[in-house]
């Protein structure tokens, strides 16, 4: 350790930011896809992250499956539950307008949160992984295997999502629907099937984000509320509906939160995300990369 080279220290904060950002990215992309396709802010999306983390814990730590198998199962179950929430809870009230959908999602968030507490109890949980190794530069531990794992998984998922969206018919239908709902319908895209696909994808990604959060830290019942706030910030920064915009937004939020510690008291770390969005909303309401008009 010792008094390291300052530049290396900065680099380390960048690594932290990348980890925070990539996990956030997975959570935010799905959030903004749902926002585009069903046109509302899905507050329950944060609970999908928590759900993924708890299911991962269930399969990995409680049942004892290998991590990869447990993760796949958890992601799949989260995806199915997300789809079910779309079918059972949100679809029937589509006509009520975005605000009622938003409040329904708040209701759903409470239901999921309460269910997690009832089933798993209020004690925090954690994934116990083999001891990680870390790589050092100039004597400073720069990045650990766990962190590399998280970043790689997140980037691979993001690239896979990109390929899916650009190279497959279903993916292109999703994109078409995200950008022009009515147009997509006119062009004969089966909007309800595409919407279902979006919910499955979004919830699955949220589940993955939850597992990664669990691997990195602990799994606790309030994590859904904590993460949705940061997801909102990242989504706004990237311009709510633009899929690639929010990816960049998530990375920027992650970096700004972790880099802020250099200058600000760490206690303000989470507030930094909100200061960023307030600034963005005041200066450029459509987000940095969004082409969406405000309102």
């Amino acid at each position: 350790m010792g008094e390291g080279v300052p530049r290396v220290q900065y680099l380390q904060y960048v690594v932290f930011g990348l980890v925070t950002g990539t996990i956030l990215l997975l959570g935010t992309v799905g959030f903004s896809m749902i926002r585009r396709v069903d046109n509302f802010l899905n507050i329950a999306h944060g609970q999908m992250v928590a759900l993924g983390a708890y299911l991962g814990y269930l399969f990995y730590a409680m049942i004892g499956l290998p991590l990869v198998v447990a993760s796949v199962l958890a992601i799949a179950s989260t995806a199915v539950l997300g789809w079910a929430s779309h079918r059972i809870v949100f679809n029937p009230i589509r006509g009520h307008g975005p605000l009622y959908l938003l409040f329904t999602s708040v209701g759903l968030a409470y239901v999921i949160h309460g269910s997690l507490e009832a089933i798993f109890g209020t004690r925090p949980k954690a994934f116990i992984l083999p001891e990680p190794r870390f790589f050092s530069i100039a004597g400073e531990p720069l990045v650990s295997t766990v962190e590399i794992f998280i970043i790689v998984v997140a980037i691979v998922s993001a690239v896979a999502l990109h390929l899916f969206l650009t190279r497959t018919r279903a993916g292109m239908a999703v994109r078409a629907m995200s950008s022009e709902y009515d147009l997509a319908r006119v062009r004969g895209i089966n909007t309800s099937r595409v919407a279902a696909l979006v919910w499955i994808l979004a919830s699955g990604l949220a589940g993955l984000a939850g597992i990664l959060m669990g691997i990195q830290g602990t799994v606790y019942t309030d994590m859904g509320w904590a993460i949705i706030l940061v997801i909102l910030s990242a989504a706004v920064l990237g311009g709510l509906g633009s899929i690639y915009g929010v990816m960049v937004g998530a990375m920027l939020i992650g970096l700004s939160m972790d880099l802020s510690v250099i200058w600000l008291p760490p206690a303000y770390r989470s507030a930094v995300a909100f200061m960023v969005i307030m600034l963005v909303l005041v200066v450029r309401p459509q987000g940095i990369f969004g082409g969406v008009s405000r309102g």
């Binding site: 350790m1 010792g2 008094e3 390291g4 220290q9 380390q12 904060y13 690594v15 932290f16 980890v19 925070t20 996990i23 507490e117 109890g121 209020t122 004690r123 925090p124 949980k125 954690a126 116990i128 001891e131 990680p132 870390f134 050092s136 531990p141 650990s144 766990v146 962190e147 959060m213 990195q216 830290g217 602990t218 606790y220 019942t221 309030d222 994590m223 904590a226 993460i227 972790d258 510690v261 008291p265 760490p266 206690a267 303000y268 770390r269 989470s270």
Partner: protein, 435 residues
């Protein structure tokens, strides 16, 4: 006009509320005997003692107001269980003044507002003589209501320094004030040979007052605080905060936090390869921490907590009973403190000859402070009292000697993580803190 209809609706609403209140007042003096079926306290069984019906004739209602959900949600059940164990033992020994203790419980959701509502419900609808269980902020909020209604308010864990000089009247706590906790932590660190430490702690009331005490005491001992980092609870990662600590290069690091954040932080540190000597606050001195972060991470980690000497036969006997009842480690997590609070209450009522909050308030010092015959269980205490002797209850969380403000000067143990368990390192009797 519609406006008038709205107004009428408003009046009806107010009227309904008023009627509800009148009904409430009317019912105030009545003694109803509709206890919820199947929830009676039984001395032997493992059955629950919580109930929310009205008190039945011969029972002494005591309220357990604690956090089953929210930030402190992890503590509610253990505290309740420990209190229940105490109540069961009291009842098995013939009860207090021939009456059985009956526990009613409410969730305060770790929130001041819910705490107030829960306390009002316990006092108003259950007629409890004492409320036990809340953390500092909530204890402070319910204390005036309790005092007004001659109901004792106690806590197994409210360490707030705000009560150091003000509590004592219808308020006592079986945990020493945070200022002691900090003293112990500083002393343990110093005695283990660390001269330059870093501090990292959650930015909340409890940890802040402990950290202030650590700082003050450690510097008084001649040590140096090289870095001081408060952090926001419930973040997914604390890498950046740890980096701050690392750049100051401390010999050891004191961590004050709850389980969630503490686990994230310890794991993060491990992942980053920071092999500091850790000393963690007593919130983390629970067996569950080993499940959370793995036993390797906690190997050699120091902690301290208020406790009686754990090697005594009395403590061992209690620990065994606890283990049998709940299949859980009795140490840590303020379970012993919760147990003791109920025993002191029962003894105080026995001594006062009345099952009331007033009796508890007047006698809790008498039964737990010297002089008097040292007793370790309720049964022995009652026997001694009946024999006309003065008693001094020695609890499982310490000697339980209360000052004028309801504070205990606790005895402590320092512990170290070893092979997936917290093991006692050294016992610090209460006399350590005199002067």
């Amino acid at each position: 006009m519609k406006r008038r209809r709205e107004f009428n609706l408003f009046l009806i609403l107010m009227l309904v509320l008023a009627l509800a209140i009148l009904a409430g007042c009317g019912g105030g003096g009545a003694t109803t005997t509709t206890a919820a079926p199947g929830t009676e306290t039984t001395a032997a069984g493992n059955e629950s003692t919580a109930s929310t019906g009205a008190p039945s004739g011969g029972d002494i209602p005591i309220g357990i107001l604690t956090s089953y959900t929210g930030e402190m949600g992890a503590f509610g059940v253990p505290w309740f269980n420990a209190a229940k164990m105490a109540a069961d033992e009291v009842n098995a020994a013939g009860g207090v003044l021939g009456k059985q203790i009956k526990l009613y419980t409410e969730d305060d959701r770790s929130s001041v507002e819910e705490g107030i509502k829960g306390a009002r419900k316990l006092i108003g609808a259950n007629g409890v003589v004492a409320i036990h269980g809340p953390i500092s902020d909530i204890l402070l909020a319910i204390w005036p209501i309790a005092k007004e209604n001659k109901v004792m308010a106690t806590s197994p864990a409210a360490g707030t320094t705000k009560l150091d000089e003000t509590g004592g009247d219808y308020e006592f706590r079986t945990v020493p004030s945070d200022s002691f906790d900090g003293k112990v932590a500083a002393l343990v660190l110093w005695e283990n040979g660390y001269k330059e430490i870093g501090m990292i702690y959650e930015n909340d009331e409890g940890r802040q007052s402990i950290s202030a005490a650590v700082r003050k005491e450690f510097e008084a001992l001649g040590g140096k605080i090289v870095v001081d980092v408060p952090f926001t609870p419930r973040q997914p990662t604390y890498s950046a905060e740890l980096k701050k600590v690392a750049s100051a290069n401390p010999q050891a690091v004191w961590l004050g936090s709850g389980q969630e954040s503490g686990a994230v932080l310890l794991k993060d540190a491990k992942q980053r390869g920071y092999n500091w000597k850790w000393m963690v606050s007593s919130d983390l001195a629970v067996p569950e921490m080993f499940d959370l972060v793995g036993k390797d991470t906690l190997e050699g980690v120091l902690t301290e907590m208020p406790s009686a000497e754990t090697s005594t036969p009395e403590f061992q006997a209690w620990a065994k009973r606890f283990q049998e009842l709940f299949n859980a480690e009795p140490t840590g997590g303020f379970q012993s403190n919760s147990y003791d609070a109920i025993i002191v209450m029962a003894l105080a009522m026995e001594k006062g000859g009345a099952a009331t909050g007033e009796a508890i308030n007047q006698n809790y010092r008498d039964v737990s402070n010297p002089p008097g015959e040292k007793v370790f269980t309720f049964k022995d205490g009652v026997a001694a009292l009946k024999a006309g002797k003065d008693i001094d209850y020695e609890g499982v969380s310490g000697p339980l000697d209360f000052d004028a403000h309801g504070n205990v000067t606790g005895s402590y143990v320092s512990m170290i993580g070893k092979d997936g368990k917290w093991t006692q390192l050294k016992f610090y009797p209460a006399s350590t803190w005199e002067q």
